[in-house]
Amino acid sequence: MLEASNVSYAHRKFSILENINVSVHHGELLVIVGPNGAGKSTLLSLLSNEMDKHKDPIFFKKKTFKEWDNKELAYSKAKFSQSNSHDIPLSVKDVVMMGRYPYFSSIPHKTDEEAAQKAMAETDVVHLTNREYNSLSGGEKQRVHLARVLAQLDNDIVQKLVFLDEPLNNLDVLHQHRILHTIKNFTKRGNTAVMVLHDLNLAAQFADRVMLLKKGKIVAHDVPDKVFTREIISSVYNFPCTICPNPVNQNPLIIFGT
């Protein structure tokens, strides 16, 4: 589905990523974790075709991004960015509708309206439909953009790919879980998600595979059970921790500071 080999990136001779090999399959939810400055966002940025400074091409569905048509790519791949614009003088509905821009030329079709509605229901922003985007709180803005990303990928194409850069920042517990369930359902339908998260326990609960980065290098890339071990986590985060099975679902449960 998505394959990249030897990804390296340096900013002014300061190496941010070194020789990362990634291969993500369809139906997989890959969560990238790591301490601050590990290069998580940069990796996501590179994988999602935001920069073209790297040497070896990245293959998405066996084609390099250059070989894709702009619009076709927008039907199959979307990204939720961490630094969302705070000043968009439009209504919430207009912002969500942007996700449907690849689908209509001037006036939205009925399917576009429906897709936007559905996505807004999914991230619980329907009651904000006619509100001014600029008047929302940080978490609400975040959910509006998530709805926009979901609306963009609402089509019949199989094996779509979504990138999410810390989608849970500013969200309360209910919405964190709600969003993760939405993403999980998305991947269960044969699609792929690559997500940067800070909360290791949520990563352990939802991820199919976890990639742990430190200082631009992969420390571990495997199923949650193998990545979240006491030795690996306490050395990477440089902080003591205990890991025990979660009494409810048997996922690894990470307790820091013990």
Binding site: S48, D87, L90, M98, P108
Partner: protein
């Protein structure tokens, strides 16, 4: 709201036509025949029912002037809206960021130097040369302003406006020098730049203008969605399948072309690109999908109205049109500044 765009367009176009007809009858010279229908059929049939003086005033003075007001108002307002979308700021207008100054600088140099070859080349070519030079001037300034004020897709508004101030200052200096050295007839032409006027309207100029407007609008007028998406940030717009770099290049080249041509033919008429989008934003927020096409029509209306006032308010003389637009525009400039005080 998006679905009603065709309705808004039709209503505003009807308003524009009404305004144009009213403007045709306004002025010092009064036509013999008073009904629009009579004049119209008389002109078509050419049966001599129209007085030659009437026909001259109508066909060679008023109509070309009205057409020019419509074309220039529209062009200035659309280039303002496009630039505001690209720079993501309501203060990015051709005159405030120095593009008009760059264009008139090149046009002024062309007028002074071109006066030596003027007798030897046909009129159409003269005007084309003038507008091409003005285009080159505005393109150079535009690229300069963009390079200086924008880094990684983010525009520093203060830098953008100050670059405009610097370029305008340069324009004044060169203009002063040219005025100092120029002969009488060149001097008259040069003064006309600084004030801005539609009095020099001819069908030749209108033909060139109409071509430029048609070509530019073919590429620009449907970019509303792209400009909306660019509010998300350039990278996010790219994820929506929008070729951001290509659109920015188109906007830079085509607005330079629009501004250059209008400056070449009517001098510096300021603030149109600021007033029209501002008013439209009050109603439609920043939805470029709606305000971009509407600004094309409302710009025409604004300039036509201003020009009609400028030639009728103090007969038989004319108030320079740039004075009128500045009267309307500068308070709006101040309002926008106050509103954006915290984000500057």
């Amino acid at each position: 709201m998006q679905n009603k765009l065709p309705l808004y367009l039709i209503v505003s176009l009807l308003l524009l036509v009404t305004l144009a007809v009213v403007s045709l009858y306004m002025g010092v010279y009064v036509f013999e025949k008073h009904s629009f229908y009579e004049i119209f059929t008389g002109l078509i049939n050419h049966d001599g029912s129209i007085d030659p003086a009437d026909e001259f005033v109508l066909m060679q003075l008023r109509l070309p002037r009205i057409v020019m007001a419509i074309l220039i108002g529209s062009a200035l307002s659309v280039s303002g809206t496009c630039l505001q979308g690209m720079f993501r700021n309501p203060l990015a207008t051709p005159d405030l960021i120095g593009i008009t100054a760059g264009a008139s600088l090149f046009a002024a140099v062309t007028i002074v130097l071109g006066s030596y070859i003027r007798p030897y080349i046909p009129e159409f070519l003269q005007y084309s040369l003038l507008s091409i030079m003005a285009f080159v001037g505005s393109l150079i300034t535009m690229v300069m302003v963009y390079r200086i004020s924008t880094q990684n897709g983010r525009t520093n508004v203060v830098m953008m406006l100050l670059t405009g101030v610097a370029i305008t200052a340069m324009g004044f200096a060169v203009m002063g020098l040219l005025i100092y050295f120029s002969k009488d007839d060149q001097l008259r032409d040069l003064t006309f730049w600084n004030l801005g006027s539609l009095a020099g309207a001819t069908w030749t100029k209108n033909t060139i203008l109409a071509t430029v407007v048609a070509v530019s609008y073919y590429f620009l007028i449907n970019k509303g969605k792209a400009l909306n998406a660019m509010m998300l940030g350039e990278k996010d717009a790219q994820h929506l399948g929008i070729p951001v770099e290509r659109i920015k290049k188109q906007i830079v080249i085509l607005t330079a072309l629009l501004v250059g041509t209008t400056v070449a033919f009517a001098g510096t008429i300021g603030f149109v690109g600021l007033i029209v989008p501002y008013i439209l934003r009050l109603v439609f927020k920043s939805n470029y999908h709606i305000i971009l096409p509407l600004s094309a029509v409302f710009g025409s209306m604004l300039l036509l109205l201003a020009d009609t006032i400028s030639r009728t308010i103090a007969p038989p003389s004319e108030i320079p049109i740039g004075v009128l637009t500045a009267f309307m525009g500068s308070p709006i400039f101040i309002i926008i500044l106050i509103r954006n005080r915290n984000t500057m």
